[in-house]
C-alpha cells in the first residue's frame, strides 16, 4: 500500500504546472476543482500510505524512493529522493488534510478576487514545496522545499501587491527568512563536510556510530536552529509573522499557522539524535522556545487587530513546540504541532469568516455581539479558542500538557514555570478575543451592519470539520496517567524519535501537573470574563494605571524600530555607499571605458582602409615579407 507515496508531492506539483502555464485560459470553476482535487488526491494517497506504513516492521523503515539523480559529484550524492516514515507521514497528512480544507475555504473567500487563478497556482505551489520539504530523504532536498515555501510565503503575503503595506510585508518575510537560511546553509555545509552525505539515514548512522563530536554536533544544531528561528518565527527572527497578516486570511491559516511555520519544528524533530547528542543545543532550543512563548503572549494581550492576536498566538504556540523538543520530548512537540494545525487554522478561517461578514473589518474595537448573527462561525471559533486554551477534553489540552509534564519531569522547572505562565496568558488573550468579538454590546459600523451575513457553506463546512478535529485529534496521545500504552502518537513515532532518557514521575505527580494546567487555563478564562464582560471598564483602568507597560506591549517592545535603526538603516547606508563608489564609478566606468576604447581603436584602424588598391597591396606585401621572414628564421 505504500508504493505510491512518492506521488504525494508530485500531484500538486503537476497541478501547479498546469495552472501556471495554462491558467490564463482556464475557467474559474475548473481552476477551483483542479486545485482542490489535486490536494485531495494527495491526501488520499497519504492516508493509504499511512495505513500501509502501520503494517511495515520497523527494520524496513524508512522507505526511500529515488526519483531523479540530481547532484552527483565524486562521492557526494544528493538526489531527488522521498522518504516515507512515521514523521514524514504525519506531516504529509497534516499538510494535505488541512491544506485541502483551506483550499475549499479559499474557493469561497477569494471568489470575487481578480487574481483567483494566480492565488490557486501559488497555493498549489506551496503545497508542493511543503510536501517536498517534509518528505525529502536528504537535507539538501529538504532545503529546496524550505526555500520553496519561503518563496510561496513571499508570493502569497504580497498577493495584493498593489498595496504598499502588503508588498513590504512580503519583502520583510523573505529577507528575514533569508537571514535564518544563511545559518541553515552553513549547518548543511558542516554536515556535508563531516558526514559526506545529506541522507538522513546516513546522518543518523554517523551520529549513532560516534562519528560526530559533541562540539561539532552543537555547532551544527545551533546553525540549523538559527535557520528554524527564521522560518518558524521565534526570537530573534519572528518580526515578519505579524506583518504577514497582510496576506489573504486562508494564506495566514495555511502557511502561517498550520504548516510552513512548523517546518522548523519538523526539522528539529528530524534531527532529534543530533540535538540529543549536544545537550547545549537542546537547552538553547528549549529556552528560546519558552521565552518566545511568554514574550509573544504578552504582546498578544494588547493587539486590536483580530489577525495580529492570532499571529502572536502562533508565535507563542510554536515556542511551546520548540520547548517540547528542547527538553527531549520531540514526540510531544510534534503532537502539539499536529493539534495546533487544526485549531489554529480553524481560528484563522473563522476570523476570516467574521471579516467576510463585516466586509473586511478586522479591528476588534468595531465588533461585538456577533454571536447572534453568525450561527456557524461563532460556535466553531469558540471550540478553537477552548482548544488552544488547554481546557480538558479538547485537543490542545493533551498536547500542551504533554509538553509541560515532560519539562517538569526532566527537571526543567524554570521552563515549566514559563510554560504555565504562558498558558494563563494564552487563555486570557484568546477569550479576550472571543468576548470582544462575539459578546457584549455592538460597536459595529452602520455600513458593515447592513451587509452582515453568515458565510456560504463552502466556507463554513471546513470550519465545522476543523472544529470536529480540534476536539477529537487529541485523543491519540493520552497522557501517561491513562496507561503506558495510551500514547498512540508517541508510539507511532518511535522508529524515528528514539525515546530518550525518560524520567518518570509518580502517578500522583502526574495528576498534580494536569490539575495545575487545567486550573491555570480556567483561571485565564475567568479573568478574561471579568475584564471584558462583567466590568468592561476594568481594562481601561488597568491601562491608565500602568501606561508605560501598556505602551511597551502595544508597540511590540519597539523591536521593529530597534531592528530598523540598527540593522536596516546601516545596511541601506552601506549599500548606497557601495553603489555610489563602486557600482557607478568602477563597474559602469569599466564598461563605458571598454566601449570608448573600442570606438577609439576602431577610429584609429579605419585609417588603414583608405579605399586605394595600392595601399592594400602594400600591406599584403608587408605581410608576405614578414611571413617569409618568420619561416626563414
Amino acid at each position: 500500500m505504500t508504493e505510491y507515496f512518492w506521488l504525494i508531492p508530485l500531484i500538486p506539483g503537476a497541478s501547479t504546472f498546469i495552472l501556471a502555464v495554462f491558467g490564463r485560459w482556464l475557467p474559474k470553476k475548473y481552476v477551483s476543482w483542479q486545485a482542490c482535487l489535486s490536494v485531495f488526491a494527495s491526501f488520499v494517497i497519504a492516508v493509504v500510505s499511512f495505513l500501509g506504513l502501520l503494517k511495515v516492521s520497523p527494520e524496513n523503515l524508512p522507505i526511500v524512493k529515488t526519483l531523479f539523480s540530481w547532484i552527483v559529484s565524486g562521492q557526494f550524492n544528493a538526489n531527488l529522493s522521498l522518504q516515507l516514515d512515521a514523521l514524514s507521514t504525519i506531516m504529509a497528512l497534516v499538510v494535505t488534510g488541512v491544506g485541502f480544507l483551506i483550499h475549499v475555504y479559499s474557493v469561497g473567500y477569494m471568489a470575487k478576487d481578480q487574481g483567483y487563478t494566480r492565488y490557486f497556482t501559488y497555493l498549489n505551489l506551496f503545497t508542493f514545496a511543503m510536501l517536498i520539504l517534509v518528505m525529502a530523504s536528504n537535507i539538501v532536498l529538504m532545503f529546496v522545499g524550505w526555500e520553496g515555501v519561503g518563496l510561496c510565503s513571499y508570493l502569497l503575503i504580497g498577493f495584493w501587491f498593489e498595496k504598499n503595506s502588503a508588498a513590504n510585508a512580503g519583502k520583510k518575510a523573505f529577507i528575514v527568512n533569508r537571514i535564518g537560511d544563511a545559518a541553515f546553509i552553513l549547518g548543511i555545509f558542516f554536515i556535508l563536510i563531516n558526514i559526506r552525505s545529506g541522507e538522513f539515514r546516513a546522518i543518523n548512522e554517523a551520529i549513532g556510530g560516534g562519528a560526530i563530536t559533541q562540539g561539532l554536533a552543537t555547532l551544527i544544531a545551533l546553525l540549523l536552529f538559527a535557520g528554524a528561528t527564521g522560518k518558524s518565527a521565534q526570537i530573534p527572527l519572528y518580526v515578519w509573522l505579524p506583518d504577514a497578516m497582510e496576506g489573504p486570511t486562508p494564506v495566514s491559516a495555511l502557511i502561517h499557522a498550520a504548516t510552513m511555520v512548523t517546518a522548523g519544528v519538523y526539522m528539529v524533530s528530524r534531527f532529534n539524535l543530533l540535538f540529543t547528542l549536544s545537550g547545549v543545543a537542546a537547552q538553547v532550543v528549549a529556552v528560546v522556545g519558552a521565552l518566545t512563548a511568554i514574550y509573544a503572549a504578552t504582546m498578544a494581550l494588547t493587539q486590536n487587530d483580530i489577525k495580529r492576536v492570532l499571529a502572536y498566538s502562533t508565535i507563542s504556540q510554536i515556542g511551546y513546540m520548540f520547548m517540547g523538543c528542547g527538553v527531549g520530548a520531540y514526540a510531544a512537540g510534534m503532537f502539539h504541532l499536529y493539534t495546533h494545525a487544526f485549531f489554529k487554522s480553524l481560528l484563522f478561517l473563522a476570523a476570516g469568516s467574521v471579516m467576510h461578514a463585516l466586509s473586511g473589518e478586522l479591528d476588534m474595537r468595531k465588533m461585538g455581539g456577533l454571536r447572534k448573527y453568525l450561527p456557524l462561525t461563532y460556535p466553531t471559533f469558540l471550540i478553537g479558542a477552548i482548544a488552544i486554551a488547554g481546557v480538558p477534553f479538547f485537543s490542545g489540552f493533551f498536547s500542551k500538557d504533554a509538553i509541560l509534564t515532560h519539562a517538569y519531569a526532566q527537571g526543567q522547572y524554570f521552563i515549566w514555570a514559563l510554560g504555565i505562565m504562558g498558558a494563563v496568558l494564552t487563555a486570557f488573550y484568546m477569550f479576550r478575543l472571543v468576548f470582544l468579538t462575539f459578546f457584549g454590546g455592538e460597536r459595529l459600523d452602520a455600513h458593515a451592519k447592513t451587509h452582515l451575513h453568515e458565510s456560504p457553506p463552502v466556507m463554513t463546512v471546513p470550519l465545522v470539520l476543523l472544529a470536529f478535529f480540534s476536539i477529537v485529534a487529541g485523543y491519540v496521545g493520552l497522557p501517561v496517567v491513562f496507561g503506558e500504552k495510551a500514547n498512540l502518537f508517541g508510539r507511532f513515532l518511535e522508529p524515528v524519535i528514539k525515546p530518550g532518557h525518560e524520567a518518570h514521575l509518580t502517578m500522583n505527580m502526574e495528576w498534580m501537573l494536569i490539575l495545575i494546567s487545567v486550573a491555570v487555563a480556567l483561571c485565564g478564562i475567568y479573568i478574561a470574563y471579568v475584564f471584558y464582560l462583567r466590568s468592561p471598564q476594568a481594562p481601561h483602568q488597568l491601562v491608565s494605571r500602568f501606561p508605560k507597560v501598556y505602551n511597551l506591549l502595544y508597540n511590540k517592545y519597539y523591536v521593529d524600530e530597534i531592528y530598523n535603526a540598527v540593522f536596516v538603516n546601516s545596511t541601506i547606508k552601506g549599500s548606497e555607499a557601495v553603489y555610489d563608489n563602486f557600482d557607478l564609478k568602477v563597474i559602469d566606468g569599466t564598461i563605458n571605458g571598454t566601449a570608448a576604447a573600442t570606438g577609439f581603436t576602431g577610429k584609429l584602424l579605419s585609417f588603414l582602409q583608405s579605399g586605394l588598391v595600392k595601399d592594400y597591396a602594400l600591406v599584403l606585401l608587408l605581410g608576405v615579407v614578414i611571413f617569409l621572414g618568420y619561416l626563414l628564421l
Binding site: 595600392k614 595601399d615 602594400l618 606585401l621 608587408l622 615579407v625 617569409l628 621572414g629 619561416l631 626563414l632
Partner: protein, 165 residues
C-alpha cells in the same frame, strides 16, 4: 650555345620589363610586354617544354596582349599619366620588394646545385602532355572549359551598352 641563348633571352626579357616600368605611355608598355612574353616563350623552350612555349606565345603574346592593346585603344587617353606625387610610398614599396627578393633568394640557397640541368632527355611533347591532361587532369580540363565560357559570356554582358530605358 645553351648558355648564350639563355643569357640573350633573359636579357631581352628583363630589359623589356624594365622598359615597361620606366615608360609612361600605355601602348609602349603593352608592346614591351609582348616582347617580354615572347622571350619568356623562348625560355620555356630551353626548358624542354616546347608545347608550353608555343601555347605561351600564341595565347599570351598573341591573344591577351592584343586584348590589352584593344582596350588601350578604346580608352583613348590623349596624354600620359604623371608619375606618383607621393614619393614615400614608392620607397617603401621598393624597399619591401628588395627585401622580398633577398628573402626569396635566401630561401633557395640550399638547392643551388640540386636542381640539375636543362636540355637533354625528357621533352614535354604534346603527346605526353595530352596523355596527362586527359587522364589525371580530366576534371580540371573540363571545368576550365566551362570557366572560359563563363568569362566569355561575362565579359560580353558586362560591356554591352544598356539601352536607354
Amino acid at each position: 650555345m645553351g648558355i648564350f641563348l639563355f643569357s640573350l633571352l633573359a636579357f631581352i626579357c628583363l630589359g623589356s620589363v624594365l622598359g615597361m616600368i620606366l615608360s609612361k605611355n600605355q601602348a609602349y608598355n603593352a608592346l614591351y610586354l609582348v616582347l617580354a612574353f615572347a622571350a619568356l616563350g623562348g625560355l620555356f623552350g630551353l626548358l624542354d617544354a616546347p608545347f608550353i612555349a608555343a601555347v605561351q606565345i600564341i595565347i599570351y603574346a598573341g591573344a591577351i596582349m592584343v586584348l590589352f592593346i584593344f582596350v588601350i585603344m578604346m580608352i583613348n587617353l590623349r596624354q600620359g599619366i604623371t608619375p606618383e606625387k607621393k614619393k614615400w610610398t614608392l620607397f617603401i614599396s621598393a624597399g619591401l620588394a628588395v627585401i622580398l627578393l633577398a628573402e626569396l633568394i635566401l630561401a633557395i640557397t640550399g638547392t643551388f646545385s640540386a636542381l640539375g640541368h636543362a636540355g637533354g632527355e625528357k621533352m614535354g611533347t604534346p603527346t605526353e602532355l595530352g596523355r596527362l591532361l586527359f587522364t589525371d587532369y580530366l576534371y580540371p580540363f573540363e571545368i576550365t572549359s566551362i570557366l572560359i565560357i563563363a568569362a566569355l559570356v561575362g565579359a560580353i554582358v558586362l560591356v554591352k551598352k544598356r539601352e536607354k530605358e
